[in-house]
Symmetry: D2
Subunit: 284 residues, 4 copies
């Protein structure tokens, strides 16, 4: 099966009897082979969620994907279908911190992601040489309060020219405007250096140190127009004590940020994350 | 649905195309409603595993269970089917340590388990009053090397008389013979106080302290004729340092043992654990 | 040494050169034997913290404790000194939930705490029999908005009559007034069922479920006049997924609450927790 | 204090009354300022362990270090004293796997280590360009069963020529001979990809998969003449399920190996690790 590409559908909609059987039956009747099928029911809201991955029998995967979408609509389901043969192209937004930058690129080169990085955009020139050393185009787009609108317009032109389908904010120290998010219209994954919803906004490690918490965290989430409020994909924490200074928290937090962001990116690219409302269902 | 009992099937056998569809279709066609369906494929050995839980349409759940078993055989699957309406009866085997004993009984009384405890059997009389205080029959069955065969025969009589369907070794400090396991013929869950396969046999905390490990563990597994070698259901660890004496490890280990054993018992009673070879598939 | 009682001093004050040597020298010159000495410096605020535990040479430990206090004042240190021979008496405040109640009492009976429980106070009668079964006095003190002042006055009378030196709010579902805390004037340890400062106030598991977090937490802290804002002693988290309902979070949270509260109580009773500002130094 | 270098002593020997006071007194009387002093007593074996870090009053830190060593001998203590002004030089031994290699070098460049890397030695040429891109000398020293003695002799010449004071086996897939370890005579830190003592030897992830464990681990330890048996510095684990193939374990294990090895190297270079027998005391 390693040589066969698969189709992956993410479905959700009002729960009703027989959905599992009807989806599996549709694929089976057309000669497909289901590799994974994972369901979830929100019992309270009576919503059905499913991720199903299969090897289609026919060569024309695009036609099968279109046919499945039409079928899912008849079940009252919202659906998206991806092919494992398509590797989405992404852009990394960075500032000066380089830990998530190196980590994501090294994982990509090690084959951990079902997608590719097309370019790096930064409001600082610091990582230009490193990006180019990895063979990635680097775009320095300075941002000030006065120039933000123009800078975002330039960022959007770069993303479109490169055919970028997702953005990762790898410790990018700027807030993207609602207008940017709307015009881009594709997933933007951010890493926030706290256990959200605790310590939103700036300097979360300083806030954590002042509050005297015994664990610090990191949260990967989809960026939305409300800062640090988007659907959470992954979180983790690490233990700290009174012995740890803010600088220690920052150092320990770097490892957390790398792991949490990389896990979120991997799941996203494997089409394991389904967003509904301000929450996610992660079929891991 | 809270008022309806469900059927839960655990299947496994040679993988082939269409198994998900055929199982789901069989249930759907008979008017059943699938609540959960979770699959796994061992890609290397080409084995298909499934846990499926559904609300049968008809009142006669026992007949539906029988019919499903016959159907599963036609798919080449080994299968067992349980009804959530049946609460299996279990026995606790204990010695002197009481932490898992209290923990399991309090969780049972709090409604955490899909089964019941029928009696307590111990080679020491220490916990007799506590067991009876919880309303449980207590049987003191002393065991020595010389009397072991007779003691096990007595234990088997007690289990049969009480209709016991599973045994939990809640820090029972005796090894059950191969003969006992065979004659009982039902699941026996043991908690071993190490991260198996490290530190098998006696005094694992002493062994861990001597080796200078930085984490200690606990392992819940089905007992088999080879000591500490049965299929692992759940494991967990906790961090220790050079500051911890063997007594500290024992104290910290008690919390681990309670959590790990309780989780294994909960999964077992919810029919989430499928044994194959010396491994488990846990549909959590 | 097991037979000797020890003195334990917790010191803090402005940092200056030679504090470690002067404290150790004072004890050594009087024939004492230091078992543990643990220091911490807040580099930013230039505060020195120390926990030192020693076996005094003389029989009159009370006199040695007084002398040490006088000495510490000459170093500019705030200090408290406890003797391991004194086992403080505590009260458990509970409502209907019984998991922390059973857990704390069973740990106490297993010898895990360097203190004792004197009585149980509850706004509900549910746990009366269980408390008395453990040999503990049980006081039913109903609380309504209208009767709160009188109820708190009665609680204070009970605490004073029993010589209670610390209170544990073991899932007590009432807020203690500022007046109560001031009049009691002793440590009150609370368990909050979230990873503070996230999800303060009521129904934290419901809040966590709505936000879609991937970890839930529990926090043990000293109660202060600001709700859920006191110095944090211990925190921990456990992983959850979209599959977990609010009821699942409540069940999983019970284990967290037990472990986190018990750890905080153990550290408190071993005089390992030093409060300054709204933070703690925990000498574990 | 950031501008001042410190002295760090690691002491151990037979426990006796007054050691804390005498060490602190010695430093205080000579005008030194203790920043950290951490003690441990092995109660069973009556051994005293201490790490003490101080700013010496005089400019001649080397003379103070010599004087402290002479003093410690009068206390019956084994001792080593390091100056924070000396940054030890290390060598990385690698084969083909590059995750620990990149991780350690990026952490070094980020300033996480109190030491430096001088060169990379490998039995394969694969990482030559990457090493040189980081500005590190790369030595390709092929090893076969027949050429092993000559290869180790060449490795030792390289280490001596570069003044190397410690070696890190960053997934180096060769066993160093007892002769090499003896002739080098300096610390060699290895990362083993299992939770030792489980799964020693080759292919530990394959072994873990076959045993069906629910957690996989990694262990950093000092290399000794007995394979995978040296004093453990750090260990950690991560949860796995039946869904994870051996390749998944390898991928998840990479993150563990990076974190565990980096932590061990950081502690080692900060003189926080004291070896005695086959165990370590880690003053973290």
């Amino acid at each position: 099966m390693a040589s066969s590409s698969t189709l992956i559908a993410l479905l959700h909609g009002p729960d009703r009897r027989g959905l599992v059987a009807r989806v599996a039956g549709w694929i089976f009747e057309r000669g497909g082979n289901i590799l994974h099928a994972d369901q979830h029911r929100d019992m309270e809201k009576e919503i059905f969620f499913q991720r199903v991955e299969w090897v289609p029998s026919q060569d024309d995967a695009a036609a099968e994907a279109r046919a499945f979408k039409a079928f899912a609509v008849t079940l009252g389901m919202a659906v998206c279908v991806a092919s494992s043969a398509n590797r989405p192209k992404g852009a990394l937004f960075v500032s000066r911190a380089d830990h998530c930058f190196h980590d994501l690129i090294l994982r990509w080169k090690a084959g951990e992601f079902a997608g590719d990085f097309a370019c790096v955009i930064s409001n600082h020139p610091d990582l230009a040489d490193a990006a180019r050393g990895y063979g990635l185009a680097f775009h320095h787009v300075p941002v000030t309060a006065r120039t933000k609108a123009a800078a975002e317009a330039r960022q959007l032109r770069i993303l479109r020219a490169a055919g970028v389908e997702f953005v990762i904010l790898a410790r990018y120290m700027q807030v993207l405007s609602a207008g940017f998010l709307k015009k881009f219209g594709r997933p933007v994954i951010n890493i926030h250096h706290s256990f959200l919803p605790a310590f939103t906004g700036g300097r979360p490690y300083q806030q954590a140190h002042e509050r005297g918490v015994k664990l610090i965290g990191a949260t990967a989430h989809y960026a939305t127009v409300v800062l640090d409020d988007g659907p959470i994909i992954q979180q983790d924490v690490v233990r700290v004590t009174h012995r740890h200074s803010v600088d220690d928290l920052i150092r320990k937090g770097r490892d957390l940020e790398k792991l949490v962001l990389a896990q979120a990116v991997r799941w996203h690219l494997e089409n394991r994350v389904l967003v509904y409302g301000k929450k996610t269902v992660v079929f891991d």
